[in-house]
Amino acid sequence: MSSETSTESQFSGDLQSSGSESLRPWQLFTLAGLIGATITVFLSRGQSPAAVVLLSLTVFAAAAVGIAALRTVMPLTSKATPDTTQVLGGRTRAVLERDKGLVLRSIKELEFDRAMGKVSDKDFAEMSARLRGRAARLIRQLDAGAGYREQIEREIEKRLGKTPAPVAGLCPSCATKNDADARFCKGCGKAMERQS
């Protein structure tokens, strides 16, 4: 489910990845915590081990307070960027995928119930038909969503009179977007042309 990754938050990423070269905030605070704890241990030499450990824990908690405080303030100062969630007809793709999974599982369970002799054949036929209808609808929705953008792009290119430049991971025969390193298309099953 590659769509899950597309809903990743930019903010949660901020703390980890603001400038890969420089010291990241959480590293700074961990370091501060470690230094603080070392100093505390040094200063409280006379005390019992349990007390020293607790003091160090307090220092680490203080470091955590620092990280969390930064986490509170950062979103307010950083520039807000628009939401990057991929939306299909008002619902995110992830939701559709999950719904499909649920319906498929329900069908499975129903078949299982019948095999266990709990559901009469008539009921089974009716319920199964309804669930399958729902699953088919979801699959169709998902299929449609996956192809739209690529189809539109190809249309535009065609009108502009250019030959479509092969996009990484785009199936040449059905325009389904696949992972970049896919060898076969997940939509039509045909072999993909490998890009160098």
Binding site: E8, F11, Q47, S48, A68, P75, E109, M116, D123
Partner: protein, 823 residues
Amino acid sequence: MASLGYYLLLAAFVVAAYAAAISVGGARRRSRALTESGIGAFYLVTAIMAAASAVIVYAFVTGDYSIKYVQRYSDSTQPLFYKLTSYWGGLDGSIMFWVSLLSAFGATAVYINRERHRELIPYVVAVISVVEMFFLFLMIVHNNPFSTYLTQNPSDGAGLNPLLQNFYMVIHPPTMYLGFVGLTIPYAFGMAALITGYLDDSWLRAVRRWTMISWLFLSIGLGLGMIWAYEELGWGGYWMWDPVENAGLLPWFTATAFLHSVMVQERRGMLRVWNVSLVITTFFLTLFGTFMTRSGIVQSVHSFGQDPVLTQLFTSFMVGMLVISFGFVIYRLPLLQARNELDSWLSREAAFMYNNWILLFSAFFVLFATMFPTLSEAITKQRITVAAPFFNQWMIPIGLTMLLLTGIGPLLAWRRSTVENLRTQFLIPTLCGLVLGGIVVALGIPFWSAGLCFAFSGFVLGTISQEFWRGARVRQQTSGTDMFTALIGLVGRNKRRYGGYLVHVGIVLMFLGFAGEGLKEHETLSMNPGQQVKVGDYTIQHDRIRVTDDGRKQMVTAEITVLKDGAELTKMYPARWFFRKHEDQPTTEVAIRRTLAEDLYVVMPQFDAGQQSANLEITVTPLVNWVWLGFGVLALGTLIAVLPETAFAFASARVPEAVKAATASMILLAIVTPAAVQAQDGGGRVVKSQAQRSLEDRVICQCGGSGCVRATLTNCNMRPVCHGHTALTAEIKSLLDEGKDVDQVLASFVAKYGQAILAVPENKGFNMLAWGLPYVLGALGLVTILLTARRWSRPAAAVAGGGDTQIDPSLDARLDDELRNLD
């Protein structure tokens, strides 16, 4: 240190307020920045609470007795372990501990769900923050754990209550709290769904696992409390319907009901208002439980004393919470409308409704009976007592019904069960029940209630085995593996269902243990060294009394030899410990010899070190350990149910791989074998003056000692050193010797001591309410269910013919493909 801690609490309050305000603001203005800042602040509360906790534990470890709380609940001689756990030994600290746990739990829940349920998260943060704010407010204005002595710092602490210096007491409160605190998460998500109006099933999916985890903690907490009572209080039982025990049980009932009815909503989209209400009720009951313990409105072993300010604060918070929550439910009623339809009275949906009815009724009954003395005192100004016998009278039939439903529910199909279905499904379980019940009754166990309990247990076990067996067979046929791999694959693919069945097995084991409770034998003996007495199958011989001291406490230990059939079985050492500074509260150290069939339980309430003689109370309780075993199985089942989807993936291989199959079989054997060890029944019964026993069961001990509130004479844990106990038993004996019967004795007791002496209130005047109301409400509930079901049911003819059922063949083939791959 103390002022640092106090400032941390203040800071936590401010930050929680900020988190609540800014996340609501962020959600309303659709500003991601504000919402994210709110989440950050929410984490910040957790960090601050961690720091504050570290500070107070540090104060305990270093013995900073200028802090009142530290001074009151620890002393310098305490081992480190108990110093750490003194944190939650008293009221103020336990509130703080509560907030810390809530913030940690809440932060985890928010962290996990922040992307998946982005629309709900701001309100989840706000709701949890408001709850945190309430408890922080309590601490800041009223129960500050960091308050210090203004002058004259004491040089040493008063020490933790000796009853609490016990391993189970160390882990019991945190587990209970985790359960209680965890149930705040479903409430927060439910409220967020109500506020935002995103009332599809997504919030249910978010909270299902959290509810299960909290439920697990709550169950284990209750179990640990029972073990603690059994091992530490020394009256031979484990549950006496103490208000605080009940407080833990109330949300357990409603959470169980929720875990069941949530399945109906997932499968059928029904009962949506009901589920939201259950979540709110559960949260309310956790608050109410805390309130009952902390404010002292009911008498209990656990209570910390009367506190009117706390009562007011708590009451206003609870009322506010109820009004706002249900206000939102009513406001969102249009969105909660569901297509409720019931095809048949004999369907899984209907079974879940009966299940909810019985669970809710239990919750209501326990709540009502717990609060009845308070209610009665407020209205009639007469103190009465509602103790264990009253609860047992009611809860035995309720419990049995619940057990029976546990067996019936899984056998019914969703929507409709035909007669044919019923025959094939019920045949084996019913036979199991009849056979087990028959055997047990033939062995001489009374039909009501123990025999019936065995029969129902047999029925439920039959149901569950049949489910596992048939399921595994179906899977074996489709996958072609061997039986064991199929069984594990079955559980792996359907963890919630089969984990749930395992939980049911745990419940059955517990019920077997409860049935054993009704069959116990009890003897009180006074013995000199060398004397022998026969109790049940055992011969008890008192050897001597030993007095030792380990610096913290003086220990008086009796040495006892237990013989069976003339051969020495074991030695047992019941004792009493006198902790320094708490000499007036000696603890009872119980000696227990455990077997699967029965426990030999020896207590030494009284001794004479000079004469080397001891009073011994010996109880033989059959099947107690099955209760603990049941809790273990329940925990295992719940863990399987909450495991992530990918667990057990190894067993989903379709072609049998010899190695895997072999290991799988071995794992299963290892699990199954210990459970299948001996299950023999205890022997004959010793009958003791029936009238005396029944009176001791029905009269409340008047000693008023700490730890002896609302206990009957048989259960009073101070006995028989307790002056009240000795006097009352002597009085009963003399009255009986005068030739009076049980009722006459009770009447004279009421005349002398007032209504409060009766464990079961008399059925007259205002008290008739206690007897009548549960009946009325139970019936009312049932009628409501029947009426609702009637409204929802539709004629069978209308069932056929769904809407769009035409799927084009290519899609159909693809669907089949995906279904096959799902395995």
